[in-house]
């Protein structure tokens, strides 16, 4: 059964959306949050566990220091205050994803709070998202629902549990209600999650692979009539796990809420499940008294005290924020806004930076990556950086072109040779016999032949119509099977005809 929706445009005419996000980030520590079992994705089920992860009686959790430091770094990168003292709490509930019947989390004392993130939208507009808190907790095990129709929980006969993920360190980042996004709400949603993902990746504290669940988003949406201050009732769409899905889920929920409100019905406060195949959400479960988690301070873990010295030490290790880095690189390279956006969207900013560091100019680096490599990567269905072109190769190819050893057309052939594993550019030039004919002897011979064959053109050039030279250059290039340096040919023709270039 699918829900009624209004068109997005109509929903926007009638209502003002308010958003909120909870983004869970899995840290890439070697071991888990409270146990020394490995934090590794994709291993055989229930092999990365020990007695702590399985919640056996009498075990004692011990906090992973690196996880605390990573959490503080995330807090700092989100412009948060770092709590001088904070503690863990038990969130009590019965569900087989935790064998302890509680999740160790933080409740009234998050490690980081009161931050913000400035989000750049596609047209350059900056939108500030306020961060309520970032708190530490542990991930839960993974359930697979068996039987029933589609692996969904409805109609399942039983579930299988793998606790490898249980106890993996998580930082949950919670925004304050986001007002004023209007029709850009879906775009902002995507850009916000992308920015968080970029930040944790840049910090090196998470692998940040959404397809592996390293970054997971719960999206809250509510609508209110324009001009009303009080928020509407919200829905929470769980586990929207790709950037595109975040955008689509927010858009869909806005359209669905608008239809419910238009019909005069109240919105049910509930969790919703996102379905990528139909790009819709379905009702999960309503909020109930089962959500009474009876939080209380975790007695087995002592408080965390983040001294100001420690926080400052960690702050000093923070890398340049991604947005600041982009701004700096664009200025350094002298790219236009459009050129730079294309580079970022093509995912070759890092590669261009490395290529420039290897000795190419910004223009040359962009020409090669955007003009040659991105297209080849697309055909091969890999990321441009994964295609196998080393920055040094580009510099070598470009040097050969500048030295007149090969021309641009040959250079792309050499690039294909490199990608086919035929060797270094030098070796490929030799093997394929691609060197430009730089000995003037054969060139002059070809030029004389061409001039003799086209006396009219020769006269025009003598008469000052220099653009006619193309016909002669073309003949020479043809005669030398493209192996001449066109620039040198031009010079020699003018010399031959006694014309100033």
């Amino acid at each position: 059964m699918s829900d009624a929706t209004l068109s997005f445009e109509e929903a926007m005419e009638k209502y003002d959306p308010v958003l909120g996000f909870e983004v869970h980030v899995e840290l890439n520590t070697k071991s888990k949050m409270f146990s020394s079992a490995p934090n590794v994705f994709g291993d055989e089920p229930n092999t990365n566990v020990n007695e702590v992860d399985l919640g056996m009686p009498g075990v004692l959790p011990v906090v992973n220091k690196t996880a605390i430091e990573s959490s503080i770094k995330i807090g700092l990168a989100l412009n948060c205050k770092i709590a001088e003292t904070c503690r863990f709490a038990r969130k009590n509930y019965f569900y087989p994803d935790t064998p302890k019947n509680f999740q160790t989390s933080q409740y009234d004392e998050p490690i980081a709070y009161d931050g913000y993130l400035d989000i750049e939208l596609s047209d350059g507009t900056i939108f500030r998202v306020e961060i309520e808190r970032a708190h530490m907790e542990e991930d839960a095990g993974k359930l697979t629902h068996m039987g029933g129709a589609t692996g969904r929980i409805q109609g399942a006969d039983y579930s299988l549990v793998d606790y490898n993920r249980s106890g993996v360190p998580l930082v949950e980042i919670v925004t304050k209600p986001i007002e004023g996004a209007g029709s850009r709400a879906p775009e902002l949603a995507k850009a916000y999650v992308a920015a968080v993902r970029e930040i944790v990746k840049n910090l090196g504290v998470s692998d940040a692979k959404m397809e592996r669940g390293n970054v997971r988003c719960d999206a809250n949406v509510s609508l209110r009539p324009h001009g009303r201050e009080r928020f509407g009732i919200r829905s929470e769409t769980k586990n929207v796990n790709s950037l595109r899905a975040v955008e689509h889920a927010v858009r869909y929920e806005i359209q669905r809420h608008a239809a419910v409100l238009d019909s005069g019905e109240p919105i049910v406060q509930e969790t919703r499940h996102w379905h990528e195949d139909t790009r819709t959400t379905t009702s999960g479960r309503p909020k109930s008294d089962a959500d009474d988690y009876r939080y209380f301070p975790e007695p087995d873990l002592v408080p965390i005290v983040a001294s100001r010295e420690w926080v400052e030490e960690l702050r000093a290790t923070l890398p340049e924020p991604p947005a600041a880095r982009r701004k700096r690189l664009q200025a350094d390279w002298g790219y236009s806004d459009l050129e730079f956006r294309d580079v970022v969207n093509a995912g070759v900013m890092d590669e261009i930076e490395e290529t420039i560091a290897a000795g190419a100019t910004a223009t040359v680096a962009r020409k090669w990556w955007m003009g040659e490599i991105v297209g080849r990567a697309k055909n091969a269905d890999v990321d441009p950086g994964q295609l196998g072109v080393a920055p040094a190769t580009i510099v070598e190819l470009n040097t050969m072109v500048e030295d007149g050893k090969i021309n641009n057309k040959m250079a792309t052939e050499v690039l294909d040779g490199v990608l086919a594993g035929e060797g270094t550019p030098e070796e490929i030039v030799a093997k394929r016999g691609l060197a430009v004919v730089s000995d003037d002897g054969p060139l002059l011979e070809a030029i004389d032949t061409a001039l003799a064959a086209q006396p009219g053109v020769a006269d025009k050039i003598r008469g000052g119509k220099l653009q006619a030279i193309g016909a002669i250059v073309g003949s020479v290039m043809k005669a030398t099977r493209g192996q001449a340096d066109a620039g040198r040919v031009k010079e020699l023709i003018l010399e031959r005809l006694g014309v100033e270039g």
């Binding site: 089920p45 229930n46 020990n50 399985l54 906090v63 087989p96 579930s159 549990v161 007695p299």
Partner: protein, 98 residues
């Protein structure tokens, strides 16, 4: 601290997945009320200047270095499980949660 009544006990029993008869609820409501009342006397002793204590020992920052230690094999992990299938714990489908 608020007094505890029979409805509170029934609610907690439900949350804790404990089945209780009407007689048990009556009895527990009485017993827990006495306990809550007794604990209340502590609040009376501590003035406003005494913060709530969650950890009685003045210990902070007990950390472990991020080093991988021991693990169980899947067989060991599952050895106490009532039911298992292909290296995983097998549990009844739970329909009222998602």
């Amino acid at each position: 601290m608020a007094a505890i009544n029979r409805d509170d006990v029934a609610h907690l029993a439900h949350l804790a997945h404990i089945e209780m008869s009407a007689e048990e609820l009556d009895r527990m409501a009485g017993e827990l009320a006495v306990i809550v009342e007794s604990v209340k006397s502590v609040s009376e002793a501590a003035g406003d200047d005494v913060p709530a204590t969650s950890h009685p020992i003045p210990l902070t920052n007990v950390f472990r270095e991020d080093v991988v230690g021991h693990t169980f094999t899947a067989e060991q992990a599952l050895s106490g499980a009532p039911d298992a299938y292909e290296g995983r714990f097998k549990v009844p489908a739970i329909l009222d949660e998602g």
